[in-house]
């Protein structure tokens, strides 16, 4: 949008006067009133005893709940651009907008909290204490829900605070919709000519619209780009002027849903034929886009009586782990294998990966390993499978299902039923045998002090197995005991790793998952490693403030133990001994008290728990608290792994 000289000058003049006024007021305050006294007076308007805060009036409560509208002043912009942006976001089905406040999106924030009836619903404003937390919340939410939420970022500084989280979401192929405010007339250090360029190498798409009309289109496009494979974060930079422009006649453009690339009809027919005619077909299921894709994968497997593999113990949106058809089945001699976002011997349908979008976005030639170039040492053996058909498996499934239904004969259906029953029995037996092995392993160190990580997962499982639960934190640093002991049967049962292996992920991702969980009456578990929490622990306040259903159990080994082991090894290589390897890798002297930390942020909790016999009772209290709607933290002093 072309800037109005008059507006710009007027605004600068206003700011100048306002700054002068504020300075004078501040000087008066400092010289005449101690700060604490001023705060107390300000809160109580002089009517309450010092140190106390008056209860809100009924009118104030109604106002906060959105039951009554704000007064309409004579000088009101009738329809600010930001109202239309909020409506656009709402029309896209975005449920939450997380942000740490910033002046560059003051117009947008005001619209989010006041526009609409009721205001602050769809999306609801979620208060974040750090942009990194805001984006990781969106990361966790999208993995649990299968769709993006919004994160707002404040200018250059907000984008840079968020950068690590954006990178993780990108590496994890998770859709996150982001809007960054840009106020070129306010604080020079908070603006730039091309702010999105700071994260362009690890976002899928960005835009900096010049008009309100362009901004509304850009928000819609950013959403579509984020949710189409390869899914990834997208960013729209919107100036404060566009947010504030009066726009009584602007209309929100009609939304066009994206088209997902599918296999063609001929391929669908051939795949269906392969599955229907096979004596023992198998379907390898990787990570699909949404819960709908999981439903379709289950439908296809049941239609053709194929046993399946799953990545449900690695991350979200895959085949239910304990479905009767999930497992090696009764006969491991498969004569036709279909891969859905996974390798398959005969056919593999895999959506386009990040490499297809990364090169043109990587204008600074960063060349992230694992995306643009193969990681040096992290390559597994090449899969023995067909070259993948580049299409979205989830969108392709209906075509295959329809073909299967068309081709199946009554005889084949009977044969399939019989085969499925054999698979179910074999998979059940394998499951029970696996559990029997797993509990033998889990009991190792059962009564040991510190508490074993296996005992945490084992004690927790019977308390939540009948709940609609979601394990939102990565479990790879705490032994991965959920993999064998728990049943990952929902698309959101386990949300998997950090994305790029960056720390500071568990708590904010769990808060994001808990946003999703609250609406569905679910229960989020966050087995929280201590080193990870300390990056941005303020997210605990967000969980408490929004009363999110999240149980945090600290895996408190008082160190970054993986790093500690690495340094020990290196000291051994150099013959210098491991007796100083703790320097820089442990969190001692002093210990961190996580129950107190939680309490500081307003979250109920207890600990440190050191006696394994007291663990179960603590977990029960935690589960009860979360079921009452209050997040809870249990600090458990644990074995290293």
């Amino acid at each position: 949008m072309a800037k109005s000289k008059k507006t710009s000058v007027g605004r600068r003049g206003f700011l100048k006067n306002a700054a002068a006024g504020a300075a004078a007021g501040a000087a008066a305050l400092v010289t005449t009133t101690p700060l604490l006294e001023a705060q107390t007076r300000g809160a109580g308007r002089g009517a309450t005893p010092a140190g106390s805060v008056p209860a809100p009036t009924e009118k104030q409560l109604d106002r906060e709940a959105g039951n009554i509208r704000p007064p309409v002043a004579a000088r009101t912009i009738t329809r600010p651009g930001s109202d239309l942006m909020v409506q656009t976001v709402r029309d896209l089905g975005i449920e939450f907008a997380a942000a740490n406040p910033g002046s560059s999106f003051e117009g947008l924030q005001e619209s989010f909290i006041n526009y609409g009836n009721p205001p602050n619903v769809m999306p609801e404003w979620i208060t974040a204490l750090h942009e990194e937390s805001a984006v990781t919340m969106a990361h966790g939410y999208a993995k649990a829900e299968g769709k993006p939420m919004l994160a707002l970022l404040h200018g250059t500084i907000g984008i840079q605070h968020a950068a690590m989280s954006i990178y993780q979401a990108y590496y994890d192929r998770v859709p996150v919709l982001m809007i960054a405010g840009n106020d070129p007339d306010f604080i020079p250090a908070h603006t730039a000519h091309d702010m999105a360029s700071m994260v362009r190498s690890y976002t899928k798409w960005d835009a900096e619209p010049k008009t309100l009309d362009e901004a509304l289109v850009a928000i819609q496009r950013a959403y579509n780009e984020a949710i189409t494979p390869p899914m990834a974060p997208t960013l729209v930079v919107i100036s404060s002027e566009i947010q504030k422009v009066d726009s009584p006649n602007t209309k929100i453009p009609a939304y066009q849903a994206p088209r997902f690339p599918t296999i063609d009809a001929t391929s669908a027919k051939q795949i269906a034929k392969g599955l229907v005619e096979a004596q023992n077909p198998r379907i390898a299921v990787g990570r699909l886009r949404t819960p709908e894709g999981v439903k379709r994968a289950v439908e296809l497997a049941e239609l053709v009586g194929a046993c399946t593999s799953t990545t449900a113990t690695v991350g979200p949106m895959s085949f239910p782990q304990r479905h009767p058809l999930c497992g090696p089945g009764a006969d491991k001699s498969y004569d036709y294998t279909l891969g859905l976002e996974a390798g398959g011997a005969q056919v593999s349908i895999t959506g386009p990966g990040l490499a297809t979008i990364a090169a043109p976005r990587d204008t600074t030639n960063i060349g992230f390993a694992g995306i643009l170039t193969p990681g040096r040492a992290f390559q597994g053996p090449p899969e023995k499978s067909a070259r993948p058909m580049e299409a979205d498996a989830e969108a392709s499934l209906p075509l295959i299902i329809e073909e299967v239904k068309r081709q199946l004969t009554a005889d084949q259906k009977a044969r399939i039923q019989e085969r499925a029953a054999r698979h179910a029995t074999a998979n059940h037996d394998a499951h029970v045998a696996g559990i029997e092995q797993a509990v033998q392993r889990a009991k190792a160190g059962w009564n040991g002090v510190p508490i074993s990580t296996a005992r945490i997962y084992a004690e927790l499982w019977p308390l939540i197995m009948h709940e609609d639960w979601c394990l939102a934190s990565p479990s790879n640093f705490s032994g991965g005991h959920n993999v064998q002991l728990w049943d990952h049967n929902k698309p959101y049962s386990y949300l998997g790793g950090q994305g790029a292996g960056g720390m500071g992920y568990g708590a904010p991702a769990s808060v994001g998952a808990a946003l999703s969980a609250k609406a569905h009456n679910r229960f989020v578990v966050n087995v929280q490693t201590d080193g990870d929490l300390n990056y941005a622990p303020g997210v605990l306040w967000t969980a408490a403030h929004h009363k999110l259903p999240m149980l945090t159990v600290m895996h408190n080994n008082r160190a970054w133990h993986q790093e500690y082991m690495f340094v020990e090894y290196m000291a051994g290589v150099r013959g210098r001994g491991a007796d100083r390897a703790e320097i820089g890798s442990v969190l001692r002297d002093p210990f961190i008290d996580y129950a107190k930390m939680a309490a500081t942020y307003g979250m109920a909790g207890e600990g440190p728990i050191t006696d394994p016999s007291k663990l179960q009772a603590a977990l029960k209290r935690g589960v009860a608290s979360v079921k009452r709607g209050e997040p809870y933290m249990i600090d458990v002093i644990t074995q290293p792994r």
């Binding site: 113990t313 059940h428 392993r441 040991g448 002090v449």
Partner: protein, 158 residues
């Protein structure tokens, strides 16, 4: 923000405690899933070190980082396996023979402990302390939680 350097964890070099390769974002199939559950009796060979000294050294040298504070947990538990802990001599030979001088990537394998950094006397003290370790695990029948998990699995979908 600190980049997490935990890209992978090689365990194949450790002769005593084999564990699976774990890549970035890969999920281990439960700790020790690749290792069979074993209950090898503790060695009975002579012990000449001082267990009390060994306890302090066990912590100072970070043995607990991989083997747990009780030798039963962590990346490389040894109680019930024992492997290279059959005798003092085998243990010391094991400590001295772990010299990969050019690791390309970070490794959490058993470090090398040369004579200069961990003299035989101290190694024997650590060995003496390790030999005091016993399983803290009750019989499975005495752990209701784990029995409930097995029962739940048995009653699951067929």
């Amino acid at each position: 923000m600190k980049k997490n350097s935990i890209k992978m964890c090689w365990a194949g070099l450790c002769l005593a405690f084999l564990a699976p390769f774990t890549a970035l974002n890969a999920q281990p199939a439960g700790r020790g899933a690749a290792a069979p559950v074993t209950n090898v009796p503790a060695p009975t060979s002579p012990v000449t070190g001082n267990a009390a000294n060994g306890k302090a050294l066990f912590y100072t040298y970070g043995c607990y980082a991989c083997h747990g504070y009780n030798g039963e947990t962590g990346a490389r538990p040894f109680v019930g396996r024992w492997g290279n802990l059959s005798t003092e001599q085998v243990f010391i030979r094991f400590l001295r023979g772990r010299a990969n001088v050019t690791p390309v990537v970070p490794s959490a394998s058993m470090p090398n402990f040369g004579e200069a950094s961990l003299p035989d006397k101290q190694a024997k003290d650590i060995y003496a302390y390790i030999r005091t370790f016993k399983s803290t695990a009750p019989d499975l029948k005495d752990i209701p939680t784990l029995n409930a998990i097995v029962e739940s699995a048995k009653q699951g979908q067929k």
